[in-house]
C-alpha cells in the first residue's frame, strides 16, 4: 500500500462513509467495512479514517487495538483463527494456539513470510459443543487436539 493517502486511494470507503446518515457512533461500522474491503487496517488507512470521521487517530487506533477482530497486518492466504472463548479455553485452546505458533513460527496477529498463513484469536464463535474450535478461512474444525495441528496446516501447505 502506498505511503501517501491520495484522494482516490480509499474511494470505495469514502463513498461508504459519505452515504452514512451520521458519522456519530459509526466508527466501528466504518472500520469493519474498511477491513472487509482492504483486508486489514494499515496505519495510513487509520489516519485516513480518523480525518474522514473527524476523530483523532489515537481514538481510531484505540478501537482497532481493542477488538481482536481488527488486524493491522495483512492476513495470509489462509487465516487460521482459534477460538479463545471460555469453553474452548477450558478445553485447552491455549495449547492449540501454542502448537500452531510452533508449527508456523509466527505469533498471533502475524503472517508467515511467504504470505500463506496468518494466525488470529477469536472470541466464542457459538460452537461451544465442538470446543476447542479452529477455523481456517471459515471452515470449522472441532475438538481439535494438539496432535492434529500439523495435519491441518499440511492440508493447506501444499495447496496453491
Amino acid at each position: 500500500m502506498a505511503k501517501c493517502a491520495t484522494t482516490d486511494q480509499f474511494k470505495e470507503l469514502d463513498e461508504f462513509i459519505d452515504a452514512l446518515p451520521t458519522k456519530k457512533g459509526e466508527l466501528i461500522r466504518v472500520l469493519h467495512h474498511a477491513q472487509n474491503t482492504y483486508g486489514y487496517l494499515p496505519k495510513e488507512l487509520q489516519v485516513h479514517i480518523a480525518k474522514k470521521m473527524g476523530v483523532s487517530t489515537a481514538k481510531v487506533f484505540g478501537v482497532v487495538s481493542f477488538y481482536s477482530f481488527f488486524s493491522m497486518e495483512p492476513k495470509g492466504e489462509y487465516d487460521i483463527s482459534i477460538c479463545l472463548g471460555t469453553a474452548c479455553y477450558v478445553r485447552g485452546a491455549d495449547k492449540i494456539v501454542q502448537e500452531f505458533k510452533n508449527e508456523l513460527g509466527i505469533e498471533v496477529g502475524e503472517t508467515t513470510a511467504d504470505g500463506k498463513f496468518s494466525l488470529s484469536a477469536l472470541r466464542c464463535v457459538g460452537a461451544c459443543g465442538l470446543a476447542p474450535v479452529v477455523l481456517v478461512n471459515g471452515k470449522v474444525y472441532g475438538r481439535v487436539t494438539e496432535a492434529e495441528v500439523k495435519g491441518i496446516v499440511d492440508e493447506y501447505r501444499h495447496k496453491d
Binding site: 480518523a50 483523532s56 487506533f61 481493542f66
Partner: protein, 585 residues
Amino acid sequence: MINLKIDGKSVSVPAGSTVLEAARALNITIPTLCHLDLHDTKMVNKAASCRVCVVEVKGRRNLAPACATPVFEGMEVITNNIRVMEARRIVMELLISDHPKDCLSCRKAGNCELQDLSELLSLRGHSISGESVSTYKKDITPSLIRDMDKCIMCRRCETMCNEVQTVGALSGINRGFNAVVSSAFELPMDETVCTHCGQCVAVCPTGALTENDHSLKVYEALADPGKTVIVQTAPAVRVALGEAFGEEPGSIMTGKMVAALKHMGFDYVFDTNFSADLTIMEEGAELLDRLDKFLNHQDTKALPILTSCCPAWVNFIESQFPELIHIPSSAKSPQQMFGSIAKSYFAEKLGIDRKNLVVVSLMPCLAKKQEAHMEQYSVDGNQDVDLVITTREFANMIRQMNINIHELPDMEYDDPLGISTGAGMIFGSTGGVIEAAVRTAYELKTKHPLEKIEFEQLRGFEGVRLGHVDVDGFTLNIGIAHGLGNARSLLEEVRDGNPREIHAIEVMACPGGCIGGAGQPYHHGNSDILKARQKAIYEIDKNSKLRKSHENPAIIELYKTFLGEPLGERAHQLLHTHYYVKEKV
C-alpha cells in the same frame, strides 16, 4: 430539589446531582480515585472505572459508585459501614495487585493519589498479589515521561487531552491487563500531535505521567566551577510557589524566591518579566506594522495577529491549523528571547564564551522544556536555554537543600536582565500578554500617554472573551482564549470567515494561562486556587513603579547599545522565529 439522606443526615440538592456531590454538601468525604471535576475548566472525568467510591444505597443489592450515581427523592445512602469499607479495600487491593511497588523512588511519591488512598484504607500486606510485569517501555520526551506500568486506567489524561484540550493525542488501547492509555500506534509522544502542554501530567493521580525532571542537572551545573549559572523566573511561579510551603494560594513570594535561588548558588538571578517586556517591544511593533498595512489596504490578511509566547499553543497551531500558520507573531517566547539575549549580549558583557554560561529557566510549564530543546534554539549544539525546572521541581530542591523559605529575607533581582515592568508581570495570566501589548502599542501609535493603564475589558476567567480597544479612532477587536479547546473554537471562527472581525488574538494553552501551567503545585481541580494566583499577578502589576514595557530602562539600554530598532536586523536574527506546518497523528 431532591431530598435524600446520607449517613442519616438530610440534604437537598439539585436534580441530576450525584451522590458524591450531595455528600460534599454535607461535608462527608467519600474517597475517589478516577473521578476528577475541574468545574471552571468544565472538565469532569466520568470514567467511573475504579469503584473506590462505592456506597450502599438502601433497597439496592449492589454497592453503587457515588461519583456516577444520580440522587433520587427519598434515597438513603450509607457511606461508612463495614461492608462498604471492605469493598473499597478489596477494590484497592486489586488495583495495586499489578502495580509496581517502587514507591520509594517514584517521581510521584508524596503526591500520589493511589498512595494516599492505600494509606487511608490501611493496605498493609498484599493479600492479592498479581504479577507486576513490565510490558511497556518508558516513553521519555523532553517534557514528560510516560511510565505506563503505573497507569491505573482512570482515563483522566484522556479526558483532559481529548475533551478539554481537544488535542486528541491519547486514547485507551488494548484490553484487560494490557489496557493502557497511549498514543496512536503507540508512537513516542514526541512524534504525535501532543503539544507538550503537560495538562495530562497535572491530572494523573499516579506516577504514570510525570515531568522530565531537570533538577539533578541543575545541581551538577551549580557544582561546576567552570560554569557561570544564571536563572530566569517566569511571572507565574512567584504567585504559586508559596502553596508548596503551606502558604495561602496567591501569596506573593517574589523576594523569597529570589533569595532561595541565590542561596542555591546561582550567579545571577534574572527575570523572565524582563524578556516579556522585550517580547512586547517586538510583538507590539509587529502589531503596529501589521495594523498599518491592514488600514492602508496594503494587505488585508495582515490581521489578525496571534500571540506566540506559549510554545504548547505554537505546537498546536503547527499541527492542527495549517491554514492559519501565517498569522502568529514571529516573536519568540519570552523564555527563548531571554536565552538568546543572555547568550549573546550578557555573555559578551561578562566576557565569557556562551558554552560556559548555563541558562536555567524556572517555569510553571512543561512545554518550555520541550521548547528549549528545539533545534532552532541552539547555536552549534549549545542551547540558548540549557535547563528548565518547574515550580514543583524547584520547591523540591528548596526542601532538599534544607532552605527554610519562610525565614529568608526578601532579595532583589540582579541587573540588568532582572529589571522589568508590570506589563511583563501580567504575562502570567490569561489576557495579560495582549493587555501588555496594547499598553505599548497604544502609546507608540497615538503618542499620548494612556489615561488608564488597566484594560479591565481584557481580564477575566471565561474561556473565550472578546474585548474592544480604541486606538486612535480605530476599534481594535481582541479575542482571548485559554485552554486549547477554547483556542480551537476561536481559531475555527477566524478560519471560517472571522465574522466578528477579530484583529488580535491571545492564546494560552493552560487553564487560566501560565498560572495554571502543568508545572505548578497541583491544584487538583480547585479553580479558586487559580483565581487567587491571578489576583496576585494583577496586584504585583498594580504595585509596580513601571507598568509599560517601553518604559523599562534596561530594555531601552539594550536597544540603544546592542539591538538597534525593534524589528531591525539584529532583533530579527535574535528574537524572531519561523513556524512550520507539521503533519502529525
